[in-house]
Structure formats: structure tokens, C-alpha cells
């Protein structure tokens, strides 16, 4: 039931601030509203205190060096073969590489000509050592170039993507190098796989350029995470609720509340005031992120709600931030937040950290929490249907029950620490309604792949994201030395108790 007393809800009639927010967000393909088209017709200036969420997502300088490795022409026998169109292939891949770099915001330096002599290779290696790009992309054009690729990787010690179009590698060529830390090998004709490799480099740079606000306790300090290089700024929890108290129920807040309500398939508990308060949480979070030059946050929200410091839990606001590509994590779970950043930065889509519940009758994992994003297929893709609910544990404020697409593959990721990631995959079976179930609002049943018993799924607050991204995540972890752990494939079996031996 929509209980909004707000009468000014016509489609396309948005305030100045919201309009400009949508325009700037649309430019980056990031907006949570589905009603953008009608809003674009007006020209308005932003309010001076408006925080553009697009600017909160990191946009690091990411430098890639690319080169083709070939043998002296003309080719005669040996793979890829005399008939292989070298010039045409290289022109095509160069065009695709330029497009990918432009799309991903990468700075590309490509060797003007393919390298085919030892001297060329030495020059390349020395140049790379001097210029220190973030990664090297080598495209192989002959099977005899693997030794050179190996040398570039070893001698530069830089993350190296090796693209071996079909016809330039046998299994034996990949045996060692493709499983070595710091290397990502793509033996394929699929260009999207190469772009995924480039995204790995960009994601690492985004981690390095990010600052997470860790909102909890009373301390204020700053540290840096091992391996990821992400800065963690701890700030007192009261900072947030004091800022929330100052945030007005202004045009921006009302527009957000209105748009969010209008996009809902159904509204059950939240009334208009709940929605405005949730929008104030969102604007407070943006303001705090901007003030602290931060790009993500994780807050002791349960403690705040427990102490009744805010009238609404931040769940609904966190959903909006997630859809804008800004990680907003729950319960001050830092590694939960970095796991969400991984799907945001590497896969361009939100995830939600979940409380894992074993459904033993059906042998399914129920992944449950109150802060799922809605743009499950990507930040620039349409939203999934959602229902506006209250935060289940407190029955306060706004939380979103996102209806995830049934029968879709999903991936679960969780950093145990910055050096180790739990990764599992499964297939979404159904959405779980609350009630009859208890627990959090977005709740989905998952049939796990390669995990015989749902009770054995590893981790807590694993982050659920749509799609099977195992290969991409494995590639990222291998490039940057992050150890991967999977839940046990085989079930644990009941062990009868043994009586203590008599002495």
C-alpha cells in the first residue's frame, strides 16, 4: 500500500537538484531511477551543496602498455599458419583495444609495430621498466613467442595479460605460465575476455585509489589494507547520526523518496516520512563521503539502530548508493565492504552481503540481508523489481526486498582478509518472502554448485552478485596474489560419538 501523502508525484516532474543528479548520473550510466528519459528535457543548475554521486566513485589513472609479438614474416608452416591474416587481425584487435580502453577509462600506450626481434624485446622491457605502467598486454601472433611473453612478465614484474588468439597456443604452452601469479592468459577469440582482463587492472587501481569510511566506535584514524592498497579511515559512529540530524527534508530528499516509491512494485510498511528519512540518510552519506574524500563506507548500523540514534536504519539509502556504484556496507564489516567493492569495481554491478542460512530440507543456501542493490545486471542496466519494506529486525524505516531473477547463476565472494578470498557459485532457485520466513528482506534460495551440502558453505556476509563470474574473479586474484578458497565439494558425514575409553 502506498501511503505517501505527497501529491506531487507525476512522472517527469522532478526538482532541479534531482534532474541534474540524474543527468550527471546518466552520463556515467549510473542512476537508480527508471524514469530518466522524461527528466532530461529540462536545463537546471545544481544546488551548491549537491553531492554528485558520480564523483564519489574512484576514477584512477590506469596505464596499460600493449604490444604484438610475432615472428619475422612471411610465415611458413607452424601455427597460426601461412594463411593467418596478420595485418588484418592486428588492425582489428588494435581497434577493439582502443575502444575497450576508452570505454573503461584506461590510458593506452601501444607499440607502433609488432615486435619480432630480440632487440625489440629488450627495448620494450627496458621501456616498460622505466615507464612503470599498471599492466602490460601482450598479443601473441605466433606459437614461438611464448618465451618472449614469459620474459616480459618476469623481467618487468608487472601484471601481464597475455592474449593468445586461437592458433597461437597449445595446452602445453599454457601449462606453467597461465597459472603463475601476476599473469592472466586468455587463449580465445573472445574479445570480451580480454576486456575482462583490462577490467582486472582497472579494478585494482580503483581499490588503490579508494578510501573506505569505517564508521564505528569513537576513534579517528587511517590505515591502509595489505595487497589491495585501499585506505581505511575510521571515524566515530556519532559523526553519521549528527550529520543526519542536520540533513534537511529538502527537494533532493523528497525527490529521491518519491522516485524510489514510484519505482517500487509494491510498498508494504514504509510511509512517506520513512521514505524521506531514508533519503536523508542517503544525502547524509553522500555528504560525509565527499567531506572525507572517501569512495565507500561501512557503518555500525545495527548499533546505531539499537541505540535509537536515527529514526531509520540506512538500508534503503545503501541500496541507492549500491546502484550508483558506491559501496555501502553494513555492520562495520570491513571485509564485507571490500568484497562488495570487488563486484562493483571488477564486475560493474552491485552485490549484497548476506547472512547465510542453511535450508536443510531442500539443501539450499538462503542468502539474506536488507541492503541489496537493484541494478543486478550492471550499473547501466535496468533495475530488478523491488518491494519497499521496513528493516526487518527493527521494523523501522525503509529496506528493499529486491526480487532476484529465478534460475539465474550467482556468485558468492568474501574476503577473509585482503590476502584471501572465498569464492563459490550457484543458481538462484527462488525469492523468500518475509513472512512466513523471518530474517532480512532480500532473501534468496541458492542451489550451490560444487558444494554437496548447504551447511558447508564457507564464510559469513559473503557477497551475492548476479551471474557466474568465477573465471574473472580467479583471474583477478591470480594477477594480484590473492589466495582463493572454495567451500568443500564433498559433504561432511555424521560421525557417531564414541564413549570415553575406560582407564
Amino acid at each position: 500500500m502506498n501511503t505517501s501523502p505527497h501529491t506531487h508525484h507525476c512522472q517527469g516532474c522532478l526538482s532541479r537538484r534531482r534532474c541534474l543528479q540524474l543527468i550527471s548520473s546518466a552520463a556515467a550510466g549510473l542512476t537508480f531511477s527508471g524514469s530518466i528519459v522524461s527528466a532530461l528535457g529540462r536545463e537546471r543548475k545544481p544546488a551548491p551543496d549537491f553531492v554528485d554521486p558520480v564523483r564519489l566513485r574512484p576514477h584512477p589513472l590506469t596505464r596499460i602498455e600493449a604490444a604484438y609479438l610475432q615472428q619475422p614474416r612471411p610465415y611458413w608452416l607452424g601455427w597460426p599458419g601461412t594463411a593467418y591474416p596478420l595485418d588484418k587481425t592486428q588492425a582489428e584487435y588494435s581497434a577493439r583495444l582502443s575502444q575497450s580502453c576508452e570505454r573503461l577509462g584506461l590510458t593506452l600506450r601501444a607499440e607502433a609495430k609488432p615486435l619480432e626481434k630480440e632487440a625489440d624485446l629488450v627495448t620494450l622491457i627496458n621501456g616498460i621498466k622505466e615507464r612503470k605502467p599498471d599492466a602490460v598486454l601482450l598479443t601473441l601472433q605466433h606459437m614461438q613467442c611464448w618465451g618472449w611473453a614469459d620474459r616480459v612478465s618476469r623481467e618487468t614484474s608487472l601484471p601481464t595479460i597475455i592474449f593468445a588468439p586461437v592458433g597461437t597456443a597449445f595446452t602445453g604452452h599454457l601449462a606453467g605460465i597461465s597459472r603463475r601469479q601476476g599473469v592472466h592468459v586468455i587463449s580465445s577469440l573472445e574479445w570480451p575476455a580480454v576486456e575482462d582482463g583490462l577490467k582486472m587492472i582497472r579494478a585494482k587501481r580503483m581499490f588503490e585509489e579508494s578510501r573506505i569510511l569505517w564508521i564505528k566506535g569513537n576513534e579517528r584514524n587511517e590505515t591502509v589494507l595489505d595487497r589491495l592498497g585501499t585506505k581505511v579511515r575510521a571515524i566515530p559512529r556519532d559523526t553519521f547520526n549528527q550529520l543526519f540530524d542536520k540533513m534537511p527534508a529538502d527537494e533532493e530528499a523528497k525527490d529521491i523518496a518519491s522516485t524510489f516509491r514510484r519505482g517500487a512494485k509494491k510498498i508494504i510498511e514504509p510511509d512517506w516520512n520513512d521514505s524521506v528519512n531514508s533519503a536523508r540518510c542517503y544525502t547524509a552519506a553522500k555528504r560525509l563521503l565527499a567531506d572525507e574524500q572517501a569512495n565507500a563506507l561501512s557503518m555500525d548500523c545495527l548499533g546505531m539502530v539499537s541505540a535509537k540514534l536515527v529514526p531509520t536504519p540506512p538500508c534503503g539509502a545503501w541500496t541507492i548508493l549500491q546502484d550508483e556504484g558506491i559501496t555501502a556496507g553494513c555492520e562495520a564489516d570491513l571485509h564485507g565492504a571490500t568484497s562488495m567493492m570487488l563486484t562493483s569495481y571488477l564486475l560493474d554491478r552491485p552485490s549484497y552481503m548476506n547472512d547465510p542460512v542453511p535450508e536443510t530440507a531442500k539443501n539450499l543456501l538462503i542468502a539474506s540481508h536488507c541492503t541489496s542493490g537493484t541494478r543486478l545486471n550492471g550499473f547501466n542496466k535496468p533495475t530488478a523489481p523491488y518491494i519497499l519494506r521496513s528493516h526487518s529486525e527493527s521494523d523501522l524505516g525503509v529496506s528493499v526486498q529486491v526480487l532476484w531473477p529465478e534460475k539465474s547463476p550467482i556468485t558468492l565472494v568474501r574476503f577473509s582478509n585482503p590476502n584471501e578470498l572465498i569464492v563459490d557459485t550457484g543458481k538462484l532457485v527462488s525469492n523468500v518472502a518475509t513472512p512466513p520466513a523471518g530474517g532480512c528482506r532480500t532473501s534468496v534460495e541458492v542451489k550451490m554448485d560444487n558444494v554437496e551440502d548447504c551447511r558447508d558453505v564457507l564464510g559469513f556476509h559473503q557477497c551475492v552478485t548476479l551471474g557466474n563470474h568465477l573465471r574473472t574473479i580467479e583471474g583477478f586474484c591470480q594477477l594480484y596474489g590473492i589466495k582463493i578458497v572454495h567451500s568443500p565439494r564433498e559433504a561432511t558425514h555424521f560421525v557417531p560419538e564414541t564413549k570415553p575409553a575406560r582407564t
Partner: protein, 381 residues
Amino acid sequence: MKTRCLLGIITLGLACLAKPAPGAEVQFTSPGFAPSKMDAQGRLLEDWGVLELKISGSEMADTAEVKAVKLDEVNQAAQSSAQHGGVRVTRTAYRAPVWPSGLDVLTLRLEETEGREQSVQVSLALPDSARVGSRTISIGNRAVVALPANARASQSRRNWGYDDDATALPGWGKPKVECDPAFRNIRAGMGGVPIHYRFKVESNVALTVVLGFCESHWETSGQRPMTCVVEGAPAQAVDCIAKWGQHQPGTLQFAGNDQNGDGELTVTVLPQTGAPDQNPILNVIWIFTAGHTIDATQVMRGRLNVQAMHYVDVGGANDQSLFAGGQAEYMIKLPAKGAQEMTFLVACVGGSVPTPERTAWTPEKLCQAAAQVWREWKEAR
């Protein structure tokens, strides 16, 4: 060129109970954390004790001073300098803002100033309570110093002991049945660190090795599968829960020998690839002369301890490092007008140091992180 040996002995001492000498002290920290101090003698004053860098031997320092400096223009640091004959010794310490508690980075720089090649012995003198691992030094279960990556310490060795960075957890095991008390204690390779012991033996000798385990964390199998490797014997995989159950002690027997003839028998327990719990554990080691019939039940109950060549209560009272406490040494050769740096990572207030093999931190990255945090730091509004 003739090498002038032992110009000076530089002793880096860990003296937990030592009091700082009076005189000037320089504090350094990173934003929001309690500071550490360097005193006039260039010693680091930490919450776990004093990390001392002092000069001993025939040639004492001509001068010594400590001052506050800025690295990369922003990074708070303390620096102590002294001239020891023909070698200039500079110790620089700053706080690296490593999550969660930070750590102190102490760099020792040795510069030859007399224009001839010289050898310097850097000695790491340690109290008996400090346990030396392969790359870290621990007090209790806290890793307090990570040793430099670019130098290998030559340390006096005992006849047997652990040579790893695993952690002792006394009282972790809760055996439900009568067994040797050593089943109550373990060492655990936290973060996937292998547990590794060496025993001095006669070259090429054959021995019977029995390893004892008691899993008291997991209730279900499949969580902590491990591989046990005894030199000269086939490796054995073990999942304690699957084999014996929770809180149930059990043993594995190996027909080992000094296969490579180096006069040492090695025993290693490591996590299986892909194991959900990557922390290997080990409770007990018995080593018997070969040829004896070993009754597993009697071994498990501790009734053959006296017959064993070695009985190790792993993580318990009679356990020990392979390296004797008190001293570890580095021999440094300095070319004429040359210099060398050694970087020690040091635990600061409330923290510990990471295991070097398992971290991506390097001295360069630590310095960059410190500078970046200082540049972008601002106090609360």
C-alpha cells in the same frame, strides 16, 4: 682488496624489560594512533619492550644523536646517526599505517666512509623468551619483528626445534580420552604457514616417526585436511575429524630416514591445496630408532615417551625453536664508499607484524602508504 673484518659489531637487541636511557626521545606515529619513540641511543621503545640497536666491540661510536625528520616531506620519522670507525650507521624509524594497528619500520643503513671494503657483523641479540622463526621473531604468540628480506641470519642452532612461523596455542586441544598431555597443546600455521621441524640425526639413519593430532575446533570433516611429510617416508594425508573425530587424539606413523644425508630429519605438516581451513595443526612428535614395533595406543597414551629419541610436546612446555635465543647474526660486506640497508618491521602498540611470505607489503609500498595517508589526513571537523 683486503677486507677489514669486524670493524664493528652492531647488536640489535630485544630487551623486553630494559628501561629506556635518559635523554632526548623522538616520537613518531601515523594519524590517529599512539606514538612509538626512538631514544638517543637509537632504540625503539615499544609496548612489548625495547628494540635496541647498539654498537659493541673495539670501536665505539664517535657521535650519536636522534632527531625528528620528515620522509617524503610529510612522513613523521625519527632518525639516529652515529659514526663507527669507517662506517656511518643510520637508523630511521617511521610508522607505516598498515591496517589494523600500524607497524613501525626500522631501517638500518650502513655506509662505508673510509674508501675501502669492510665487513660488518650485525648481530641480533635476543632474550630467551623471544622465539626466532624463519622470518619473524615472536614473544608469546605475538610476532614482534619481521626480519629483512635481503639478508639471511646465521643463527646458532639447537639439535632440534621448529623452523617456521607457526603459533603455539597451549591448551587448544581438548582430548576426550586418556592420552598423553601433549595432545592438549598445538602449534598452528596461521594463514597457511607450514609447521616445520628439524632434528639433528646421524646421516642417512632410518627412524620411526609418530605424529599426534587432536582436532578440537571443527566438528565436521573436510575442513582442515592436511598433508604430513616426514623425510624419507611417503607423505600422508590426514583429516582428523574423518579419521578420529572431534577431541579424539590419533597418531600417524612414518618410516623416515635422512634421505638427503645432511644429518637432519625434517617433519612438515602443511595444509592441503584448497582446504577450507588453511591453518595446519600438530600436537605431538615422537621419534624412535627404527626396527622397534610401535604400539600406537601405547604411544598415544604417552607410555613410550621415555623410549623415544625425541618426544616433542608441540606448542607445550618442552617445545623450542631450532634457533637458540640470544643472538642472530648478519654478515655485511660493504664495498668502498658503498652502502647497504636492512629493513626490520616492528610491532607497535597493540599490533603485530605480518609474516613476510604472506604479505604484499614491501619497504617501498609501506613508505608510499605512510606518505599518502599523511598528505590526505585531516583532523575531525
